[in-house]
Point group: C7
Chain length 74, copies 7
């Protein structure tokens, strides 16, 4: 039986809405467009939230992988 | 006598419930679906806990390995 | 269908105004001139902002990649 | 005269009780079952202590190497 | 059209006055003499500033790259 | 004239008493038995000190290199 | 015209008095005996200073490179 790898989960989330959480506590909700092995991500139609509260609306956002704690479907 | 390696323990936990603890003190309890050599993990049917208290229910969660301190069966 | 990579988003932003946010909370708004795989960046005609307030005007700024959290069009 | 390497000390501790101390101040006392060059460890029959006080009993625990400060026989 | 790389900006600043800012908030103003791919730098005729205030005059200073946030012409 | 390398100093300290200081401020005084290029160390007959005060006596201690700031003869 | 590299500055300081400053704010003044590409250093006849005040006299000190912010002639 073939075993899945973590990046498969990111691949399955392409073009879908995801929540990206950073080490600094901020949350970015957007449509996942691209990722690489460092977990650098690009999301679009992005909402930035701090403590669950909408702070900014951004379109395309490049997020550096080493600042990310988790990614989950929105 | 063959010696086990740390990733063998993660492999033995596939499809089982695990507790994943992060450097920021948060705890994620879910079913381990995938991991890699960086200890990037994917868990499913996830409960996020802070100070032992349930904060959120999430389904699939990708956790970046460098934010993890430990993984143990739930 | 070809899949985009995160650095494609930076490439598309060349010679355009971008917001670069750092782990220390500072924000640099400038014209993206160069980047590499470490996400080291060079921006020009730069405004440094702290808490949304303009602190300094700088021209060319080299920013070390590991200090960056995100890059987004201005 | 042959010179020993640091991992020899971990190898000598296999199947013995060890104390593992983390950068966050927590202490894990367990039986060392596996380790690798990143100092990722697996211990069993684990006691988690904070300020010397028993917090939790866990069985198998995978600890990510970069969170460890030291390992010493219990 | 050829695309510039971030280190080209440092190269263009050789033998010119630069401001180097560190993760600890300190600022070093000096003449850039050398750099490498880790962004290790050597500057000369250096002024160290904390909160914009001159603290020390130093001549040659080797700065380890991973402590740097940005470099900009003085 | 041949130039010495930093690890030569550690090699010269083998089987001698050394002070190992960590990023968390703790000090370990012991007999240096082994080290590697990551500066992972093994010391024996170890005394742990915090603010110069003896906290614990330990025998063999494996210390992960990335937690170390300095090593000096005791 | 040949361009100098950062390690040339350290090489020029061999057997001379240098100030080494660490991320934790401590300063070590000693005679530079050895360094490598990680900026691991060995200094001799060392004075440790905190806030400019002499704390300890040490002879040979091995300093792990990743804890260093800068090196400058004393």
């Amino acid at each position: 039986m073939e075993q899945s790898r973590p990046l498969d989960a990111l691949n399955a989330a392409r073009n879908k809405r995801v929540i990206v959480e950073l080490k600094n506590g901020r949350q970015y909700v957007g449509t996942l467009k691209a990722f690489d092995i460092h977990i650098n991500l690009v999301i679009e139609k992005t909402e930035e939230k701090v403590d669950g509260e909408l702070k900014r609306k951004l379109d395309t956002v490049f997020i550096r992988g080493d600042t990310i704690t988790l990614v989950t479907p929105a």
